[in-house]
Amino acid sequence: MRIPIFVKLTLAGVFASVLQGIAQNQPSPEIVTVDSIPAYRIGEVTVVSADKNSANPAVSPLQVLDRKNLQGLSAEQVGDAVKYFSGVVVKDYGGLGGMKTISVRSMGAQHTAVSYDGIVLTDCQTGQTDLSRFSIENVDLISLSIGDGNSIFQPARAFASSGVLTIRTRRPVFEKKERLNGKVGFKYGSYGQKELNVFGAYKISDIWSASLSVLSQKAKGNYDYRLYYGNGKDDFTVVPRINNEVRNLRIESALIGQFGGERELEIKTYYYDSDRGLPGAVILYNPSSSQHLWDRSAFAQAHYEQPLGKTFSVQLNAKLNQTRQHYLNPDYLGSSGAEDYSYRQEEAYASAAFLYKPLTGLSFALATDGALAGMSCNLKDFSEPTRYSLLTNLSAKYVNEWMLATASVLGTGIRETTVNGPSARAIGRISPAFNLSFQPIPGCDKLRLRGFWKSSFREPSFNDLYYSAIGNTALKPENSEQTDVGITCALPLKVHQLGLNFSADAYRNNITDKIMAVPTRNMFIWSMVNLGKVEISGVDLNLEVLKKWGRNTELLAAWTHSYQRALDMTDPTSKTYGQQIAYAPRIYGSGRLQLSVSALKLGYALLYSGHRYVTGQNIEQNDLPAYTDQSLSAEYAIPRAFGTVVLRGELQNLADVNYEIVRNFPMPGRTFRVSVRFDF
């Protein structure tokens, strides 16, 4: 068949496009080495060529930051790196220990799924993922797909959210005759940051390989910031951020078996242990801060896939996950003298997916996922819920040289039981989606149009349902309906060794039955209700330009820009009606430059955001000003006898401004980091 050969031939093109940041990403890749550079082969049969020579065929906006792009940023955590995607606003509480959650196109953090090495992470307690838990150190690729992507051969959970953020960690990859490789690195940075990281990959046999990584970090986080006590330019004092220390440890391992003929087994384990001070919001004239948080989580997941004959493939996934969290507030004025809460969540998950390819260009996929999740904690009279979820997704896909179309329908059933008190109402939903991408000019592959429509929802979290007096077990899911039209184009200018890729998408999202907290009789009695309605419309732009000089020098420039109107349409009599929702800027974007000259790599990155309001009422007093954040990075690789020594320096927030993303949580000022790494 023509297509697989075409796929193999464009591997180099695929990798080049990965360099550009707009590429195809599949959840079940096979590693192939080409010129000793790792590349991902597409497991599913589809047209790939998303290199700089033709327009990206993705049916919905897909953005990628690979290892090379991440090198050019001075980002410590995944939460920092995702700020460089269009359509993404990260709610960042500042510093290494500060929580970071992602909201795509203002739909809210609970509408974006985070997938770690192929399997979606879940937190039933809050419904969202804290991206500060994931370090950049061993991440090979981060990608964001808004809506469904081109791939239909995925677990059902991948279709259950409005968007998916995929994190792919470093896989064991070996050159000819190599059996062991890895790295040892040490990093030192401002405000007492010290980090040690070790990665090792061992080739056990032709079939089996394993890897182990250990990352240990600690920081004091006691950066100075300007505490403004008045609205005047000079009305501030400089004080240090206190109670902001963080210590964490991450240990990950992987075991991979490649049996040939597209049969593969991958087993991963992950352990995360963190201990951090919670500095809290800056309160005028009251500097006391003593709250503390301990997190410990571990999971093990397995992925297996194999073809069954010529027309079928099967994929099995399983995961076991446990998270513990301990929160302490020793200055609590209740008679116990402290708020001391321990939470525990557990989940067991399994998924089976089948792919059926009856004809050229036509394929069907059926996936079923089952999950069992429970939570316990030491709060008085806590419900102790257990959630049973069953998801089934049926997708169809048609692809040829000039078009790609997919249609999916996801069925979700959720049931809950509790030990104490009432349990949530059962949920049964059907969520369809349609996606299309095509070349409008026959024969010209430099331009493509695309569009998608997707209906999805997010179920209420355990906090929404069961938290003390606020929880409301009668809550319904929150709905999201997305419509998107876009254009992608590629302009290669071979004579100048210049490549350009551009995409623009206009979208409209409607959120209904939005889960919000509303007060009842008085300030102390609030309740979660399905009340809100948000209408979001916007435009996301992405541009990448790659210029080469000779063999050793290249410059990559990338720019993203987003415009969004996210308006509260809940209650015409309220003071927030028709106004921009809280913490949503009207415009924001990023810029990146990466210059490689032989062994030296320099990077410059810029983030900018327009002003926004801290509540839904868009008045002067609620305004949070616009900000920019610039950073620089430099890396130099020195090859030695049996390895490479890599020296790296990073400088973040060049302008040294303590801007705020969340009010009263000032960001650190100018921060530097230097690291030495030995790659063997």
Binding site: L555, V614, T615
Partner: protein, 626 residues
């Protein structure tokens, strides 16, 4: 590398120019009703939890202006987080700021901060909630279970005792303090809410008794009949809400009422409360008679005005008005409704602040522009004896003159204007104002009094001040006058004994004829003070013309160094007058220990082109050494 640098600059320029096309604009709140009255309304708003946006706002009835963050405008710093209680005692205002754990003490008339009292137990915030007063002490209860006693003169915390759990409110009656212990922070634990009111003797400052009232007691207030009422909120599950009456002679519960009172205020013989009805899911505002102890009405509002979320309620005994605040959705800014005693809406102030909790009318509100030298005991103009302006462009305007009005009527108008902080124009050279404070001005160190005008650094219209002591003690300014010699007194350009006479024109808008004793005569374009008769005679010291045209063609009038009215800006230290400057008619120094009367007159005689004539304007005065 050049390309790289150029691209960096390009990226940054693109970003900053894109930020400039941000079309997200602030919504401008609705402008409020123009309500007239005396004094001002202070409004304290909680703000949002941990957003440091608690505000103390002021609606000024004389200027009809609303200042949303008056505290910051006055004191150069923000109030902090969650201001819960605002009360006045004597000449001071006390604001209890719960989140920032401070008590702010302000001068009631000006809003200027006198002291910020921190409430910390080593590094832990006490979180003060409410304040009450008895004799010369203030008592503040805090969420950490303590009651503090503050001396109102020194503004220091003298003593702290432990009361019940998480005290919410405090009232004073019958020489005792009553603190409601809510226990609110234990709602999730096995212990649950507290259910007591602590009774503390003001003499011994010890807890004498605990009265059991019911779960989760909150707002507590004392009436004038020896009873204390407390709103008992229950546990929101099985235990109901009640309104409990305590007899302070027995220190025991004397009655329980089955209303779920969320908030209330007492004034005279009435209690105004709002309660939440579970079945109708509505809040109703009711009136309870404190003498007969019966509910007079459950529908206080009689004109159909609807409130979304009643939050604060204040009954003003002076005016009889009932102020109810509406917190809306508890996140957006709220409104204040002012009702008459009959439940009819008098006016509404919108977007006053987030979660407005207290409205405090201050009828003697008198803001000073700029820094006050002594804010605790300030005296303004008490009486105007004579108001005799010379012709000028604002004569008959500030204050306004209606045909036929008499000298006495115009004098009264000028006096009223000056007492409410408005401007009075004296017209051109010689126009004068004679006034007095309530008490004498004593000659002490430095400036003894000051006069406010509308001068800025390049717009001065200097007036000379004369002073007089009431030697014959008859309360009338018929004693000897002495000029306070300013910086220009001895210069050769200053002319002493200048006299000019202005003549009333035939028609109202005709030019005014004048003759002076320098040999000049002619006409000036100005309004003549018709009520002064056919001519106005002005004499005094003449200063050289101060206005000049600068290189851009603008007329500017630079300030003289010191010693003149309407010369230096009001917030300058150079607009004070020192009785040591007094001289007699021959320029000899005169020693005065105190004076009673002051006279100000315009001391320049000049037209500044299109600006018109220079004329001294007076906005008020202050006795710095009463």
């Amino acid at each position: 590398m050049n390309e790289t640098i150029r691209t960096i600059i390009l990226l940054y320029l693109v970003a900053t120019s894109l930020l400039a096309c941000d079309d997200l604009e602030s919504v401008v709140p609705v402008t409020n009703d123009q309500v007239a009255g005396t004094g001002a309304l202070y409004i304290l708003s909680d703000g949002n939890y941990s957003l440091n946006n608690s505000t103390l706002s002021v609606y000024d009835f004389s200027t009809k202006a609303f200042t949303p963050d008056f505290f910051q405008a006055k004191n150069g710093r923000k109030l902090g987080d969650t201001g819960n209680d605002l009360q006045r005692y004597g000449s001071k205002l006390y604001v209890v700021v719960n989140g920032s754990s401070q008590v702010e003490v302000l001068d009631a008339r000006t809003g200027k901060s006198l002291k910020q009292i921190p409430f910390f137990n080593n590094a832990t915030a006490r979180q003060p909630r409410s304040i009450a007063f008895w004799l010369d002490k203030a008592y503040v209860c805090s969420f950490d279970g303590t009651l503090a006693r503050i001396d109102t003169a020194s503004l220091e915390i003298e003593d702290i005792i432990t009361v019940g759990r998480n005290p919410d409110g405090i009232a004073v009656s019958n020489n005792k303090l009553y603190v409601s212990n809510s226990g609110g922070l234990d709602y999730g634990s096995a212990l649950g809410y507290d259910n007591t009111v602590s009774v503390i003797s003001t003499e011994t400052f010890t807890v004498d008794k605990q009265i059991v009232v019911g779960l989760n007691p909150g707002r507590i207030k004392a009436d004038n009949f020896g009873y204390v009422y407390v709103s008992v909120r229950g546990d929101y599950k099985t235990e109901p809400s009640q309104w409990v009456c305590i007899d302070t002679h027995l220190d025991a519960v004397s009655a329980r009422y089955d209303f779920a009172v969320t908030n209330f205020d007492l004034s005279g013989d009435r209690a105004y409360f709002y309660s939440y009805d579970e079945t109708s899911k509505q809040s109703t505002i009711g009136v309870f008679n404190l003498q007969t102890k019966t509910v007079e009405t459950n529908a206080f509002i009689t004109d159909g005005t609807l409130l979304k979320t009643p939050y604060g309620i204040t009954a003003d005994p002076e005016s009889g008005a009932i102020y109810i605040t509406d917190a809306g959705d508890y996140i957006s800014s709220g409104d204040v409704y002012c009702f008459t005693g009959n439940g009819v809406l008098a006016y509404k102030l919108t977007d006053v602040g987030i979660n407005p909790n207290t409205v405090l009318p201050v009828s003697d509100f008198k803001p000073i522009n700029g820094t006050a030298t002594d804010t605790t005991s300030m005296e303004g103009i008490e009486h105007v004896f004579y108001f005799t302006p010379a012709p000028g462009q604002f004569v008959g305007v500030y204050p306004a003159y209606a045909t036929g009005e008499s000298v006495e009527q115009m004098r009264a108008k000028a006096e009223s204007k000056l007492k409410s902080g408005s401007l009075v124009s004296l017209g051109r050279f010689g126009g004068s104002l004679t006034f007095a404070f309530r008490t004498a001005v004593n000659n002490a160190e430095g400036s003894d009094f000051r006069i406010l005008g509308n001068a800025f650094s390049n717009s001065a219209e200097p007036g000379i001040v004369e002073v007089s002591e009431d030697v014959n003690g008859n309360g009338l300014p018929d004693d000897a006058w002495y000029e306070l010699a300013g910086s220009e007194y001895g210069k050769s350009t200053t002319k002493h004994g200048y006299k000019i006479t202005y003549y009333k024109p035939e028609q109202k808008n005709d030019s005014v004829a004048f003759i002076d004793n320098d040999g000049s005569s002619g006409f000036v374009t100005a309004y003549y003070p018709t009520w002064q008769g056919d001519s106005v005679v002005c004499q005094g010291t003449l200063l050289p013309p101060t206005a000049i045209k600068n290189e851009l063609g603008y007329w500017i009038s630079n300030s003289l160094s010191w010693g003149y009215a309407d010369n230096q800006p009001n917030n300058s230290s150079l607009n004070g007058f020192d009785l040591d400057w007094a001289v007699d008619a021959n320029g000899n120094k005169v020693t005065l220990s105190k004076i009673h009367f002051m006279k100000v007159y315009t001391a320049v005689n000049q037209n500044a082109g299109w600006m018109g004539e220079l004329s001294t304007e007076i906005g008020g005065a202050e006795n710095l050494h009463p």
